[in-house]
Symmetry: C2
Subunit: 318 residues, 2 copies
């Protein structure tokens, strides 16, 4: 059933938590983002989220909510909504879905929660760069590399709500770097921001600055630093190879690429497209479009709203 | 709508074409396989198929068909059913779906056609080794490497009906062999039977026999030939890496592996499982089950029947 009222939405990551109110067409009436108190205990984390959401709800003037939607960093037990975000140690099996329902929802009102990368993909598909397509991978390339899949016009959940994890597609099985997951040569191990910075430092970039970031790397690359450019080229190639694999396996029309690293523009996208063209050669793969994500920081909030407002397409969890 | 009568089914590849009649529960009442006259022209190919199907239909005694289902080698225009099988040069944009409808179907009767690997996956999911699961990749490792995907309990088609093409997932982007598709390091380039035999010959196996086959390679491996065993090990590792990637991307519960090479048993599956264990390390990926396919040569026929008999799950083409 399509819902007609506004939706209270949240998007919770290790760095920031965002809250907002989304109208039935997917436009955010208001939203706000605050730093995540990542070292806080479970109660303090919940208090921070609760006051953020109470604030935006009041400011929006919204009445008669249609529901509550939330994206959160994984892993989580889905669809139960017990969250254990890697970068928020204070929450381990925290019952976020239930807590949101108890505090913000009238009885029977839908309260839905999914992985943050999946919400971002849903947002880009509903209202962003994937609009109007039926087969899309929505990627985030940032501190981690994640994503969500829409196939045959529906959000894919998979066995445990983790479909879309392109960060652990294997790009260089034999010679790639070790990944935090324990594997070798995963896309994330190569293309995540900190991994890029590590590689660049191993090649001589800012070796005297142990805290140099991927943001500085991208800035140096834009200024012409050859090692910084090579690092972005290496990441772009890895992303392109992983997209080629995903396109063959899932017969995609479009891939949206968001997250901090996508801001690097052609320094990332040119090698990405070159590697993709080398490896996606079948008639049905060679026309896949790779486009920058369109909704920026709000994709996750809009996607969280989609779980409630466009449930037939984006929600199969109940 | 679930159909209640028997279904006339076909499965057409470059080597063999099979026809049969399937009862509403997915049991083949009769079936037969004949060599494909692969060098014949379009009319002669159709005549061979037509007489095969007329024969099994008569022999089955079936009346009141519920429909016609067909798997065919790709590529094809789907769901229109214009087929151009790579290994059957006489058919180029041959209107197989229409031809089957005109000859075998009453007006309004469903006639449905899909890629052969997708039908095999549908068959293994409905009645074979993937039964009872909701997230499955069905693979065929043979002269080529193909597959089909079932996610969230439904067959995935993708943008052009080509979802499941695991053969072109990239396993070794930089150092892998060139693939017929034009790419490098695709799973198929490494693990297809002829590719295996080529590699083994380059390492000294049966170098004086240019026509030595993968079947002979598997036989020699079973007898302890070290190069033949190494070739199967290399293929198994490649399959395991591709399965790890697919499991991360699609959050799979089970992968069924069929096709000629899967007959090699532990010589293929042991290195496969080792590579999978190295590369599928996340909590949600490490428990994926890899099992031999259960339906053998009949998987494609049973899956073709599923397009008609279990349309809600396996057919979205009309």
């Amino acid at each position: 059933m399509e819902q007609r009222g506004p939706v209270l939405v949240a998007d919770i990551g290790g760095t920031k938590m965002a809250g907002g109110v989304c109208d039935p067409d997917g436009t955010l009436l208001t939203w706000e983002s605050v730093p995540t108190p990542a070292d806080a205990d479970a109660d303090a984390l919940w208090s921070a989220l609760e006051s953020l959401l109470a604030g935006v709800l009041e400011r929006s003037g919204a009445a008669d909510l249609a529901g509550v939607g939330c994206g959160c960093g994984g892993p989580m037990r889905w669809p139960e909504g017990l969250v254990s975000p890697l970068n928020i140690p204070g929450w381990r099996d925290f019952p976020l879905r239930t807590a949101l329902a108890d505090r913000f929802a009238a009885p029977g009102m839908p309260v839905r929660l999914h992985n943050d990368a999946i919400c971002m993909a849903a947002g880009e598909h509903w209202r962003g760069a994937g609009r109007g397509t039926r087969n899309m991978l929505g990627m985030v390339v940032s501190t981690g590399v994640g994503g969500g899949l829409v196939l045959d016009g529906r959000l894919v959940n998979g066995a445990s709500g983790n479909a879309g994890h392109i960060g652990h597609v294997v790009v260089d099985a034999e010679n790639g770097p070790l990944c935090k997951c324990g594997g070798r040569g995963c896309l994330e191990a190569i293309a995540r921001g900190p991994g890029l910075a590590d590689w660049a430092q191993s090649q001589g970039w800012r070796q005297d600055e142990p805290d140099a970031t991927a943001r500085e790397l991208a800035a140096d690359a834009a200024l012409g630093h050859p090692v910084a450019q090579a690092a972005l080229g290496r990441a772009g190639r890895a992303v392109g190879i992983a997209i080629a694999s995903a396109t063959s396996l899932c017969d995609l029309e479009v891939v949206t690429v968001g997250g901090g690293l996508s801001q690097a523009g052609p320094l990332l996208f040119t090698p990405l497209r070159a590697a993709l063209a080398e490896h996606a050669r079948l008639e049905f793969t060679r026309h896949v479009r790779v486009v920058p994500a369109a909704l920026g920081q709000t994709a996750g909030l809009v996607g969280a709203a989609a779980l409630v407002l466009r449930a037939q397409r984006y929600w199969a969890g109940d």
